[in-house]
């Protein structure tokens, strides 16, 4: 049973970049900041590719953002995704609006499976997949992981962590939750959000990058989708977190113990 999959690729600040708040609290300083695909979304793309390699099907990658988000779509295409959808939207976007836009794409594309990252590492919301699932009245399996480690043989063989049932209509998903791992089974179509231990995303190959340039990417203006685009989570201002005073070094274990025992009184 081939699977049609819709996967999201958000453009975010590179996690290695230094992030600082502008003096007036209106945003972050973007000078010298690099951008890339949200790391969780890379994992979602990788999983979709593995599922396709195993079961056949199609991987459609979607991003909502300005023209520059084309870079992230091309990155996913270079990894191996089949085609792209760029929903052009400048300015503030909250998870409700993102989910509303993705719902329209789902209605157009009718995928069997929608895969998103569990969280965007810029806004750190962890909401879009859950909202989308509710708005579609689809089951959800968030924080998808697998029991085998990222150093396991299964991972080396690039096997998917999501397990498609024999009838091709159900998916078993292992979820990272508090106190252990949970397994749920969702009938398709379903929404899955992925966590860090699901897989190690592949790097795009040179031929992959060349091929990606020729793959189809449809551009859709957000304003034409019939969705209310005004954010309902309105950011009023940003500020820097309180700085932590550290930097004191101790000479040896004896001094460390003495400080913890007598000064901090924590042991």
């Amino acid at each position: 049973m081939p699977l049609k999959m819709l996967v999201t690729a958000k453009r975010v600040e590179d996690p290695e970049s230094k992030i600082a708040v502008k003096a007036d609290g209106s945003g972050i300083v973007t000078d010298g900041v690099n951008y890339k695909m949200n790391p969780f979304d890379e994992i979602a793309v990788e999983e979709a590719l593995r599922l396709k390699e195993k079961h056949g099907g199609e991987v459609v990658v979607a991003s909502i953002g300005g023209d520059k988000s084309m870079t992230e779509i091309r990155a996913a295409l270079a990894m191996g995704a089949d085609r792209g959808l760029l929903v052009k939207h400048e300015g503030a976007l909250d998870p409700m609006v993102a989910a509303a836009i993705l719902k329209v794409l789902v209605e157009q594309e009718k995928p069997d499976l929608v895969m998103l990252g569990k969280q965007s590492i810029d806004d750190d919301q962890n909401q879009t997949g859950q909202i989308l699932a509710e708005r579609l009245s689809w089951p959800q399996a968030t924080f998808a992981s697998k029991k085998e480690s990222l150093e396991s043989e299964a991972e080396q063989k690039k096997q998917p962590g999501l397990v498609l049932g024999g009838d091709g209509k159900r998916m078993q998903v292992v979820r990272e939750v508090d106190g252990g791992v949970e397994t749920v089974e969702v009938p398709l179509p379903a929404v899955v959000t992925v966590d860090l231990r699901l897989n190690k995303p592949r790097f795009a190959s040179l031929p992959g990058i060349m091929k990606a340039k020729k793959k189809e990417v449809k551009e859709l203006p957000a304003a034409g989708l019939g969705v209310d685009l005004s954010p309902k989570v309105v950011v009023r201002k940003l500020h820097a977190p309180p700085a932590r005073q550290g930097g004191v070094k101790v000479a040896d274990v004896a001094e460390l113990y003495a400080k913890l025992h007598q000064e901090a009184k924590v042991i």
């Binding site: 969280q119 590492i121 990222l150 949970e182 860090l196």
Partner: protein, 318 residues
């Protein structure tokens, strides 16, 4: 009127402590907006957990129908929405645990409510409640306003004191429509541990890539101190320790009295999960490791030498 519904989390009839932090936040909202707080406990063991929560002065409703036996967001969200509407709730609050993160956005969407996650504090004045939450791995704190009629948020349990025991609470069953559910719970593989829960422990000892996969010393020090064990993403990704030990931006957030980071470099994503600790100790071979910038006591040393020595000192004082 602005009533507040607090979503409780329980397992086998035992209330999760994080719920008491959500209750505190819910009470703050209610106080400012002039409404009352109701708490909701669902699933197997709900009645028992509801009694426990009532012991903290809360008015608690509980329900347990077959479709709610195991927690599943798809099944619980419509029930939460139904109870929220019946209670006239304009705010829905939960703790930012794996449960709250999974359920609250879905329940909020059902209510047409905008939601904020991992809230650190309330801001604004009187009934106009704004919420402070971290972004970019805690590099930035944002003040957000939710503009929908019904609003929802999850709170970071380390930032709101647990509601103390108090009189005046009550627990009562509430009738709910059995939800239609397509998701099937298959199994839960618990990571059994005699140690305190990571997010609730007074002391946390964490290991990173510097352990090279040998957590024996880290775990032994934790046991000597009655501590929980944590880890960096690198240690978890390598499969050395369970996933649910990961501390950081995308793992658990802890705020113990003492946090010991051994063989952890101090990447911003890790620091996001532990910088709320009262005292931070770093043990690292590399004097330039960024972890030393935030450590109250930094020791440049090989963890395999330093930890056994530290354990000797701890034992000698007992």
């Amino acid at each position: 009127m602005s009533n507040v519904l607090v979503l409780a989390e329980q397992s086998h009839g035992k209330l999760k402590k994080a719920t008491l932090s959500a209750l505190t936040a819910g009470r703050e909202v209610a106080k400012r907006s002039g409404g009352k707080v109701t708490a909701l406990v669902l699933g197997k063991g709900a009645a028992q957990a509801a009694e426990e929560l009532a012991g903290h002065g809360a008015e608690v409703k509980h329900a347990d129908v077959p479709a709610l036996e195991h927690y599943l967001a798809e099944a619980w969200a419509p029930v939460v929405a139904e109870v929220a509407q019946a209670a006239g709730a304009t705010w829905v609050v939960a703790a930012a645990t794996a449960f709250g993160k999974d359920l609250l956005p879905r329940a909020a969407a059902r209510l047409g409510a905008a939601a904020a996650t991992e809230v650190l504090a309330l801001a604004g004045e009187g009934a106009s409640v704004f919420l402070r939450r971290p972004m970019w791995a805690g590099n930035v704190i944002a003040e957000v306003e939710l503009t929908t009629p019904v609003k929802a948020f999850t709170v970071r349990p380390t930032e709101f004191a647990p509601a103390p025991k108090a009189a005046g609470g009550s627990a009562a069953a509430v009738a709910v429509s059995p939800p239609a559910v397509q998701t099937r719970f298959v199994e839960f593989q618990e990571v059994k541990s005699e140690r305190p829960e990571l997010t609730e422990a007074r002391v946390v000892v964490s290991g990173g890539r510097g352990t090279k996969g040998d957590f024996k010393e880290v775990e032994a020090l934790a046991d000597d101190l009655g501590a929980a064990v944590g880890a960096s993403r690198a240690a978890v990704d390598a499969g050395w320790v369970p996933n649910d030990w990961q501390v950081g931006q995308t793992g658990k957030v802890v705020a113990p009295e003492l946090y010991v980071a051994a063989g952890i470099s101090g990447a911003i994503q890790h620091v996001a999960g532990m910088k709320g600790a009262k005292v931070i100790v770093a043990i690292n071979k590399d004097p330039e490791a960024p972890i030393f910038q935030i450590a109250d006591y930094g020791l440049v040393a090989d963890l395999f030498k330093a930890i056994p020595e530290l354990r000797e000192k701890v034992k000698a004082s007992k």
